[in-house]
Symmetry: C2
Subunit: 208 residues, 2 copies
């Protein structure tokens, strides 16, 4: 493990990749100012972030766009695809199962688990919904390292513990709960209500 890149920088690398993908076809170079503008980050920050991955530059112009994209993809571990499982086949879990951006980025949802026996055996866009009791066997058989939690809050910790015991090392948690986790397991929270709360903070400040 190198582990020398700050967490905030790592979190911005997918943003730069997204911005490069949004650039016009045929654009061969990209300046840090241009990338900064499209990412909504200042250019000193862009240069500092990218210095960690040392992209090939074009003197006085910026970066080779295609080379920078490749370097970002390599740094983010996106040179191969990942099989992913989702716990919770409710509205959100079902929507995530068919979310096109996952497959486009190389994350293939291979199974969906639900505690409701009535849902087991159904499919969502050809992905089988399986009983939660099969979580361990599927994770082991498929060699799953990334699990997504889309259960209600009170079920999330139990599912996280089972994911980790079965071999999952990275969890994306959509349940509105803060999870305890063992060292070495990475958890990212997407707390949908918190996002609106941060927006309401800004609204209330603007009004006061």
């Amino acid at each position: 493990m190198r582990g020398s890149i700050p967490a905030a920088t790592i979190a911005r690398l997918p943003l730069y990749l997204r911005c490069l993908a949004q650039m016009e076809l045929g654009q061969t170079t990209c300046s840090s100012d241009e990338l900064a503008l499209s990412a909504g980050v200042n250019s000193a920050q862009v240069r500092k972030d990218l210095s960690f991955i040392d992209p090939p530059g074009v003197r006085g112009v910026g970066y080779h766009a295609a080379a920078l994209r490749e370097l970002l993809r390599k740094e983010l571990g996106l040179t191969h695809s990942y099989k992913v499982v989702i716990a919770g086949a409710g509205n959100l879990g079902s929507a995530l199962t068919v979310y096109p951006g996952f497959a486009e980025s190389g994350f293939d949802v291979v199974a969906l688990f639900d505690i409701d026996p009535a849902k087991a055996g159904t499919t969502i866009s050809a992905i089988a919904v399986r009983p939660l009791s099969e979580l361990e066997s599927v994770v082991a058989a498929e060699g799953i390292t990334i699990g997504i939690i889309a259960t209600p809050a009170d079920a999330a910790q139990g599912v996280a513990d089972r994911f980790v015991a079965a071999g999952v090392r990275s969890i994306l948690n959509f349940a509105p709960a803060v999870l305890k986790r063992p060292a070495g397991v990475e958890v990212r929270r997407v707390d949908l209500s918190s996002e609106l709360q941060i927006l309401s903070y800004h609204l209330s400040q603007a009004d006061s």
Copy 2:
């Protein structure tokens, strides 16, 4: 506008609120160590973050849990409810429409817009799906200040521009696109693929 709280602190305030809500019923005080542990943040950071909102403390014990919750809710502008609209009635937009956490936090989805005329007139859990052409009139009539974008990437900027022109001042963007925005409009991005990319970074580092 006071505007003196750092953005990173603001982003953690909903997390502290979430942790306080997860604490056992009847717990009247809460130490910074306890809050730090449940939030996965170090306690110096918790104390620094909370110093901005100056919560009433109990000497040698910590904070009054209920008073701290109230103060956080007030600071985040959660003392009243907000009407919210969603653009994009696909799988994700539909799941967000019925996401229970929004209403629980005081965000009521009042309308959903879609460019597909076949979807207009349908309802999702009693919320009407309206043609995109009604976006401006609904935002004005309902006094909407928060808009959620759940459209494909290539439609997101157009919707954002229409939201802002109609009076929306805060946007939660789920489309995999980085939006340009006028000053004074707050945009939060939830980029689902980026979250998995950050997890894959950690997996690839652990393996190297």
